[in-house]
Each structure stands twice: as C-alpha cells, then as structure tokens.
C-alpha cells in the first residue's frame, strides 16, 4: 500500500530509533463486497471482488461472478447491462460524455448497491519530472507533476504512477490552491540509499513508468481523498456506494503518459 504521503516515512525513519515486526492476533470478519467501477471516454469497466482476511496471503481468487451491473444516464436516456467477462470484470462499450451524470446499480445475491458520478473534461498535463531533494544528509527522489487546471470549474484530479504495470504511488488533489492556473503534485518515491541498496520499493534504471491522470468529480474525489488520509487515522474511506459495498464509481476522463526511468536523467533541485 503506497501513497503519496509526504514526509511521513521520512519522519518515521529519522526520529524512530528502532523498528520491529510484532505479532497481532487478528479477529476475522465476514467478507464484504468491493466494487471499482468506471466509465471513461473509452468505455465502461466494473471490477467486483470480496475482501480477504488480513492474514490471507494466498493467491486465492476473490472475484465475484454472476452479478448484474446496470449503467444508466438520464441525460442520454441510456440504460445498459454490462457484459460479464470473467474474473469479476464486467464491461460495456458505453463511453462517457463530459457533463453527463451516470448511475450504476450492482446486484449481487439479490442485494442492490448504487452510486452515481458525473463525467469531466480531459485533464491537461504541463510537465512531469523526477528530481532529487536533499534533507538532512539523505537524498530523496521525488516525482514532480504539474497539471493545468480546467478553467472556470471546480476541478478534481486523481494521479497514479505505475511502475512496471504495478501501482506505485497515487494521490488526489483539487484546484483550490491555484484555480485556473498550474497545479502541482509531488510524490515521494525513494531515497538514494535505498536505490543503491536495490530496495524492492526503489525505482531502478529501466523501470517502465506509466502515469495516469484522471479528471474526476467531487464524489469520487471525496472517496479517494478519504482513502488517502485513512491510513494515518485507521478509518475506512467514506461510503460511495449505497448498501455497504466498499469501493467507488467514477466517471472520468483519463490521459496517460509513459516514461522509462533513467537515474542519470533525474534532475537536481
């Protein structure tokens, strides 16, 4: 679980004199449904699964088969049942239109879970770079992303860095800090020392980096923001679906940027 919480990991490593693994006697709970649903400019995808116990470290399949997923949009008078593709994935070729609000209804074992989201216009990326920043005697690697805010709207963004097709760092932000101007998101990636050690979490030469930027609506932002801050507070993200289903539904416009990480191309502050 990696997020873009600036300084937290550095704070812990700087001020704590010792870390060790401890045993916890976890209490098991009944599994819950989880939905991650999206409609973009390219199509519609819904992934359904169940929670797994915290001590379950197997590769066991937790996907949900046999659900009925219906997507609708009053503005365009659309109602479509998604096609089950296996492995808990349900899809449709239905493409999102900016300004339209989409509703989703998921039926699993006779229970209905609903949510809605409004499609946004495409985000605009200004720049993306990796940069070294020295703090105390340690050099930290940051990814520095700049986005041009969508004018005259309250805008929300979700940014996700993949490393070799595995989620690496993500964050959400809104445009309150510079409306209609350039917005900045910094991701703390690793330290020079960990990179030298070949730490599994540290970027290495030749890593394939994929950056996704989504323009999302406020409901999706609230959900993802709450997920971003929950790790420190030990709380769950706020509900996005009715009925107790975990996860969220988001109508968003996405742009993608690909990059091969080269250590000698990292900029100095």
């Amino acid at each position: 679980m990696k997020k873009s919480i600036l300084f937290l990991s550095s704070f812990i490593s700087l001020f704590c004199s010792c870390e060790k693994e401890i045993d916890i006697d976890y209490r098991e709970v009944n599994s819950l449904y989880v939905a991650e649903a999206s409609i973009t400019q390219d199509g519609t995808t819904v992934k359904l699964s169940k929670t797994q116990n915290i001590t379950d470290n197997s590769r066991q399949n937790h996907n949900i088969e046999g659900a009925t997923v219906v997507l609708s949009c009053k503005k365009w008078d659309i109602e479509e049942t998604l096609t089950e593709k296996g492995s808990g994935v349900y899809t449709s070729t239905l493409k999102g239109q900016p300004g339209a609000t989409y509703n989703i209804d998921i039926e699993i074992d006779g229970k209905h879970f609903t949510s809605s989201s409004t499609m946004q216009v495409a985000p605009v990326m200004n720049s993306f770079r990796f940069v070294w920043k020295k703090m105390l005697t340690e050099r930290f690697l940051f990814a520095d992303l700049r986005i041009q805010d969508t004018p005259d709207e309250n805008s929300y963004y979700f940014m996700h860095i993949y490393r070799n097709n595995v989620g690496y760092r993500w964050a959400v932000m809104n445009d309150e800090n510079n409306k209609n101007g350039e917005l900045q998101q910094l991701f703390q990636c690793t330290t020079e020392r960990d990179m030298d050690k070949g730490d599994s979490d540290a970027l290495q030469d030749g890593d394939n980096i994929r950056l996704e930027i989504r323009s999302i609506d406020k409901l999706s932002y609230d959900y993802l923001y709450s997920m971003q801050v929950m790790d420190n507070a030990g709380t769950n993200p706020i509900a996005n679906f009715t009925g107790g289903c975990l996860g969220y539904f988001s109508a968003y416009h996405i742009i993608t940027y690909r990059y091969t990480f080269r250590r000698n191309e990292v900029e100095e502050e």
């Binding site: 679980m1 976890y26 929670t51 940051f142 917005l183 709450s226």
Partner: protein, 688 residues
Amino acid sequence: MNRLSILLIALLPVAAVAQDTTTVKGEQLQEVIVNANNAQRRLGSVQIGAEQIQMKDLTSPPALFGEVDVMRSVQLLPGVKSESDASSSFQVRGGRSAQNGILYDEAPVYSIGHLAGLFSAFNDNALAAATLYKGLVPAQFGSATASVFDIIGRTGRTDRWGGNVSIGLLSAKGSIEGPVVKDKLGLLFNIRRSYADLFLKMTDYRDNSLYFFDTNLKLDYKINERNRMFLSFFASHDKTALSETADMRWTNLAGSLSWLHQFRGQSTSQTTLFASSYDTDNGISFLGMNIAYLGHIRHAGLRQNFRLVFGKHELNTGLQSMLTDVKSAEWTRWKNYEKEQRKAWDNSAWLNWQYTPVKQLSLSAGVRFTAFSALGGPYYYEIDDKGNITWIYQRSKNKPVKTHMTIEPRLSMVYQPTEQWSIKAGYSRISQNIHALRNQNTSTPFDRYTISSNLVKPEVSDQVSLGLFYMTPTQDYDFSLEGYYRHVDNVLDYRDGVSFASAIEIERLVLAGEGRGYGAEFCARKNTGRLTGWLSYTLSWSQTRIDGISQGQWYDANNDRRHDINIVATYQLNDAWTLNATWVYNSGQAFTAPSAKYQIVDNFIYYYAERNGYRAPDYHRLDVSATWSKKLKSGKLTREWSFGIYNLYNRYNPFLIRFEDSQYGRGTKAKQYSLFGIVPSVSFNLKF
C-alpha cells in the same frame, strides 16, 4: 539507532536543582515555607482528586535527556498518564491533554513544550508549587473538563542575591534572584536556551535548526503589611527547521499582574490582570511547493477573587472577564490563502463555601456560572449532515453571535473519624469552550483549535469520586484509594475521511460525541527515612461514542489502557549522594488494526472493522539517576553533578504501529516503531 537519535544523545543533557524552599500561592501575605506534613495534608484536605505538589517531589525523578520536567513528572501520579514517549503532555482520568487547563500564575497557557512537545517549557527553577485537580475542582477554577493544573511561579529571595547556573549539552540555564529593594522588592529571573543549534553548525546538519529558549521573570513588591503586588512573565520559543525545506515555530507568552490585599484576619482579595498567547507557525517550501500554516490562541482578562474567612466558614467568591481570540488556521498553499479567526467574550462568576462544623468533617460546596459569547466580525455558517455549508452570515463586529451559559455545581467533603483515617467524596461539573482537534494521539504544532459557537456546544463533564485515605500513626507511610466515574458531552473529533487541512472552516470537519471514563487509583507513599517515594497503580477504562462511528456504539478511546503502575524512589545515600529510580509500566494502549484487505486503484487497502479494538504491546522502562551535591567551604556555593540513564534496560517500547504489505498485498506485517532506547545524561549545576 539512527543518526539523528545518536546526534541528540551526543548533544545531551542538563539537569537542574530542586528548590530548597517553595512559596505557595499568594493567598497569604507571608511567604510561606511549605513544611506541613504532606501525609497530613493529603488525608485532611477537603478537595478530593487534588494532588498538591511540591516541586521538590517532582524534580527528583530521573529525566529524559536530563531535562527536569514537571510535566513529565506529573505523569507519575496516580490517575495521570503520559500521551507518549514523544510528549510531555499528560492525560487525566481518561481525558485528553487538550482537556487540561494549565494556569501559570493565573494566566492560561497551552503547553506545546520544547522540541515539538518532547519536554515542557516550564523551567523547574522558576516554579514553586502546583496543584493538579483531577476533574474535581473548587468553583474558583473552570474551563477544562479533564483537569486543572494550577502552577505558581517562585518568588525571588529577599535576604540576599543568589542564583545558579546549570550546564548540560542540550541546554544551559541560569537564574538570578535577590532583593532589588531590600525587604520591599524581590526579583527572580530565569533563562534557558538550547545548545543543539550551536552544535549543529559544526556538523553535516549545519543548515538545520533545533532551537528552543524560555524565560521567566517574577517581581514581588511588598507595598506594606497588607498589600503586595506580583508581576509574572513567562515566554518560550521553539524553532525546528529542516534546512530551508520545513520550518516549525511555536511561541508561548504569558504575563500577569496581581494585587493581593489582606483584610483584617485571614481574609484576602486578589485582583489579577493577565494575558497569554500561544502561536504556531509552520511552513514547507521546496521543489515549487509553498505551504504555510499559522494558528493562535490568545487571552486577555481580569480576575477578581475574594477569600473571606469567618470562623469555621471560608468563602471564595469572584468573577473573571476574558477576551479570547482563536485562529483555527491561517494558511497559504501555493496561491491559495485562507484564514479562520474568531473571538469570544468569556465571563464567569463563582461562589465556593467551605465549612468545618466539627474537627472530623469539612465540606466544600460551590457553583460557577459561565457565559461564553462567540463574537461577530468573521463569518459564521450553517452546515448540513455531511459538513457542507448551507448558509453563511456575518454579524456586526464584536456583537455576540451565540452565548452559551452553563451552571457548574461543585461539591466535596472529607470525614476524618480518627487521625489516621479519612473518607472523601466529591462531584464536579465543569465546562470548556476551547476545543482542540488533532488527527493523531499526541499534541503537535499542527493541532487546530476552535471555540464554542453557533454550531459547537461547550464541552461539559460531570465527575463523581469517592476516596479512602490512611496514614500510619508515625506518618511514615500513607495510602490512598480513589474511585471515579466521569462523563463528558460534546467532545469533538474529526469526521472520517478528513484531515486538519481539508477545509479552513473547522466546524465542517468535526462531529460531536460523548466520552466516559471510570477507574480506581491506589497510591502508597513512604514519606520519611533515607528511602522515600511512592507506588501508584491505576485501573481505568476510557470510552467514546460518536454518531456515525462504530454504529454509534461505545468504543474504547485511543487513550484507553487498563493498568498503569509507577514506582518512584529516592534514596539519600549520604550527605553528598542522592539516588533516584523510576519504573513505569503501562499495559497495552488501544489502537486500530485492520480486519481485512481489498484491492482498489491497483493497491491493497485495509478495512477497519472496529475502532481501537486492539492492544499495543505493554510499555515499561526503568530510569535511574544519581546526584552528587556538595557545598563549598564558604557555604554559599553548592556544586552539583547529575548522572542519569533513561530506559536503563534499553527496552524498545511502542511509539507507533503501522501496517505494511508487500508490493502485491501478500504478507501483511505490523511494524512497531520505537522512539527511545537507552539515553544517558549528565549535567553540572552551580548554586550561589
């Protein structure tokens, strides 16, 4: 052990000297040397739940980094808990540290101590005595639902000039005291400054800052036999900076001018003008990111108290009028500037009657009336269930927007059938109108504060307590057993899914709930002989209920832990050497662990089924110190060396527990982070 810890240890400590004499509150004109037998006072005082503390008791336990700290020593008393290894703040009977009211010579102060709270800004050289009211307080005090910690600054000696200097490696301090005008005007001046920043300049950390300073000034002017004036001033400042990247500063200022008049007999009048300010200023700036957070709490007020004694009756009556100014936040984030600052007029009046009809029985009954008005000028608003603003309005400047009135009855009694036994009982209601919000368990400069308003109601606590006290005939030992039940309404906490920086309008981010705590405290003390000290045991429960969290059911508070044991011992080896030891044991603190995990946005996310449902590993440590003290032949100079070891057996106690997964969500691990291993210290002190 990482480099910064090693650096801090290398820059270590200083110790200080306990006071020879202590003066007590200026309710009497004469400077009083507190020599009453402590055991007798504990047995016979009418107020249950009050710990009357002499600085000598609280400055003898071994100290972290050798910095003698009254706030950390208070944590060794029964019913009092430390927030964490990283904090000098304390929690009383299940309350949070933000529910403690700290008065320094009548002025309210907010105690973010030095080094982000690692130890308090109160210099022990400057303190005379203190009383900790554990939620049961006479009517003269208010505004704090967990406890009132009433600290009295020491006055300077009036017979001759003297002072001391103390030199360690973390800080140095000095004091000077004496008669500015003989037998008329006494002065005491203390100053303490850190050394760390000077050492940092000689290391690879030269661009960083770890600086603190504090000072106290007290003037005591005897106008005549019946009138006396006190001027007290306290300031502390901290700056912790990471090169030009991150900068945290916080400042405490407090001042009071007090006129004490003695009527015929024992009756007195005390009039006090006071002001205080607690300011925070934090910033981050690098790689194009510019963020600054500021906040403050300021007070200015007038307090008048009459203490009237008629035979077996004692009345305390008075009033206080105070202006409060709270800036919950002012921030600049890139090009976004926002500020929320509100003011209030806080008035209170009280009457407390103490009566001793017979030698065996004393009663104390009182009532405090509080009227707290949030004032117009800034915006106020209404919000919906989700915290969205539905209505904004603005009243004329300084016109009351909402006035909260509370009536707070107080009752306490002691029945002492014999010289050795007493039974005490009490009840208190107390309100608090400044609310602190924090995302984490301990106080930091990033805490936000707000006042009671049209949306936020005063926090109100009710507590009952019953106690049994016994003293041996020789008074060498005394024992106490107290039980309590405490309930508090309108406790604020952050909503799920928000942080302190989610919105400038803090009322949008919070939910109100209730808390309760109950438990028993046992304390055994040895008061005489070469070996003195105490053993205390606290058995306690602390719970919270907030609509929308844990299905609205009661759940363990994050400061809940069941057992606390403190053993404090001082051994006078000979005229030169004094040995001290402290052993602390806390059973596991409540914390939240995940119950399941799932995949979202290609990351594994934890699902938390129960709030604070798990227990951290137990905490325990042994601290020891040895002090060598010798007077020089002249008799006016005393040299003192102090050697200490914090956490002697180098146990890594839990400070933080985090959960981590492998890259693919397999192999969830719970990792415990510890703050301090063994920490030695040494200091030198010279008294003159």
